[in-house]
């Protein structure tokens, strides 16, 4: 029982980092970014490459990875997505094309075998009688800190208010003098950085291979649908719900069934309450 509580929390925290970034870029810029999983993958692979090939210490590699992925996200938004904004299909297609290109590049450079991303903390701890790797506990802590910091940033700073304004009404915000394009860049950078951080934290104990971007996208979408589009608290809550649901299924049934949970949750939510739990904007 206590295993489920703790491991469910770890899974939920990873999903929360992924989902918050996904719902942020959607809520603010109305972009359903199918390359979000690629940020997750690039974070993990970047850290792997910088430590094993570049020989950098882990902390530096992780920091550089996060910054690099954030810059990549800004590049994708500025040069690939923004010109396509007239057509939602085009935005989806181009973000998916980016995801495919990144997957192919990772495959060409690193091959398809699973890689070992080094962990920050190698020791194991025991909490409430449960053996847990230090890396998983660190993930929980990093997730809480980063999402908390993001929330404080958005609620208290002027830039955060600009982000909120754009998400409520882009035109009115622009009349107020808020540069929408620059806000989009910033939000994309934050979203990508969170996803990369999730990849770096989760890399040591989840699989790292070129196709690792696909399932996070499916799950992030499920979480965002359940939690309500554009709602950060909704995404966090739904992320933990999904994390716990998957952990329970993994313990009671088998690990192979966990992916079904997310698609079932999505379909159920769509049928019962399409706006999600806290959604201000429904999906229809």
């Amino acid at each position: 029982m206590s295993e489920i509580i703790i491991f469910g929390a770890v899974t939920g925290s990873i999903y929360a980092m992924l989902a918050v970034g996904f719902t942020l870029i959607f809520g603010v810029a109305r972009i359903l970014n199918l390359a979000h999983g690629s940020f997750y993958a690039l974070g993990a692979y970047g850290t792997y490459a910088l430590t094993s090939i570049g020989g950098l210490p882990l902390w530096q590699a992780a920091l550089l990875s996060v910054i690099g992925v954030a810059l990549f996200g800004v590049f994708v938004e500025r040069f690939l997505i923004r010109p396509m904004r007239k057509s939602q299909l085009a935005v989806l297609m181009i973000s998916l094309a980016v995801a495919l290109i990144v997957e192919q590049m990772l495959f060409l450079v690193f091959g398809s075998e699973y890689r070992n991303v080094p962990a920050f903390i190698d020791d194991k701890f025991t909490i409430a009688g449960v053996d847990i790797a230090g890396q998983r506990l660190l993930t929980l802590a990093v997730s809480a800190i980063s999402i908390g910091a993001l929330y404080v940033f958005i609620q208290t700073t002027r830039l955060g208010s600009a982000i909120l304004a754009i998400s409520q009404d882009p035109e009115a915000a622009q009349y107020m003098g808020i540069p929408a394009d620059r806000v989009f860049c910033l939000v994309m950078a934050l979203s990508a950085a969170l996803a990369a951080l999730a990849g770096i934290m989760a890399g040591p104990f989840l699989s790292v291979n070129p196709s690792m971007h696909l399932l996070p996208i499916v799950k992030a979408f499920a979480i965002v649908v359940v939690g309500g589009l554009g709602s950060i608290p909704g995404s966090i809550l739904a992320a933990f719900m999904l994390g716990y649901a998957e952990t329970v299924v993994a313990y009671l049934v088998s690990t192979s069934w966990t992916e079904i949970v997310s698609v079932l949750a999505t379909l159920l939510m769509l049928v019962l309450r399409p706006a999600g739990m806290f959604g201000k904007r429904a999906a229809f």
Binding site: L34, Q88, L92, I94, L96, M105, V218, E259, V263
Partner: protein, 337 residues
């Protein structure tokens, strides 16, 4: 001459050329490439009918392809049915999945519908791998019987199927059905106010789209003589959408041209080996930037205009009228025919 006459003539000529190509060049390789292109054509045309007309882009078309193919595989190997039973069975299974996925997801708008269908395809792929004892896992099912012993005859059969499906869907698209689907793309609320049962039309068009996708899947299974979870991959769905894009959204016949062009391009890129998929994605991005209305359908329309304005019946019109008739054809982003 009217549009329909031109279109019919163009279609007949195109399919005649396609049918005769392997006879002229007599190459087993060419037959193989053209067969695959024709099957992709069936998939692309079925996608365009639903998603091109209603504007609900379905990113999980590979789901219907895969279940059709696996139905064919199971029926033929595990249950021992003759290969010809696969075709109706695959269509039935695909329609079943369309109804299952359609009811909860069709109320969603654009990107959400796309992602929901994508999720469905991804999950199906995972399921095939999870239940590997029944489905053969990564390697899938092999040892499927071919439908016809001669590859050339099979190619002609697939080509005939493609022609039949295209004709049927073009006729449907130009009928009241197509008009309603386009109206749904425009504004659902107005359709409801006009008393149209949009739920029926949306689900029915998804079911039709799925049925032919499944048919293509079964044909593919009997061509490759095996099925694998790769059929459910996102790449398949994206490839098909790209083909329709190149062909011109909502034109239906353009999708056939798009399928041919892209299959040929894939073959030409075969020398690049592992770089192929990446070059493909880069080309996709280039198409999105430079050819937003596609290539085949706009080209055919301008050809048709030039041919029809050269014909005697049109010379009676004043130059101004003929000019505006030609311009009006490409003013809107999405064409009607």
């Amino acid at each position: 001459m009217r549009h329909k006459t031109f279109d019919a003539a163009g279609g007949v000529i195109a399919f005649a050329i396609l049918a005769l190509l392997p006879v002229i060049f007599s190459s087993g390789y060419l037959i193989g490439v053209l067969t695959v292109a024709a099957i992709y054509g069936i998939w692309a045309v079925s996608w365009d009918f639903m998603s091109g007309l209603t504007g609900r882009e379905n990113f999980g078309h590979s789901l219907f392809i895969g279940v059709g193919a696996y139905a064919a595989g199971f029926l033929n190997t595990s249950f021992g049915f003759g290969p010809w039973w696969s075709l109706p069975a695959a269509m039935a299974v695909a329609v079943l999945f369309a109804l299952l996925m359609g009811f909860p997801t069709l109320r969603l708008k654009g990107p959400y519908f796309a992602l929901a269908m994508l999720s469905g395809a991804v999950i199906m792929q995972r399921l095939m791998l999870i239940f590997w004892e029944y489905t053969g896992g990564e390697e899938g099912i092999s040892g499927i019987e071919p439908l016809l012993r001669s590859p050339l005859h099979f190619y002609w059969f697939v080509l005939a199927a493609l022609a039949a499906v295209t004709l049927l869907l073009v006729l449907l698209a130009r009928s009241k059905w197509g008009l309603i689907l386009r109206a749904i793309r425009g504004d659902e609320a107005t359709c409801l106010a006009a008393g149209i049962n949009i739920t029926f039309y949306k689900i029915a068009s998804l079911a039709i789209s799925a049925a032919f996708a499944g048919l293509g899947g079964a044909l593919y299974a009997h061509y490759q003589l095996q099925v694998s979870p790769q059929l459910f991959a996102v790449v398949t769905s994206i490839t098909i959408i790209t083909m329709v894009y190149v062909g011109g959204m909502a034109s239906i016949y353009g999708a056939v041209g798009g399928a041919l062009l892209l299959t040929l391009m894939t073959e030409l890129l075969r020398d690049f080996g592992e770089w192929r998929l990446m070059i493909y994605s880069l080309i996709l991005i280039a198409i999105l930037f430079f050819l937003p209305n596609g290539f085949i359908a706009p080209a055919w329309r301008s050809l048709r205009e030039r041919l029809s304005s050269a014909s005697p019946s049109n010379r009676r019109k004043t130059p101004a009228a003929a000019q505006s008739h030609a311009i009006g054809g490409s003013a809107t982003g999405r064409e009607t025919a």
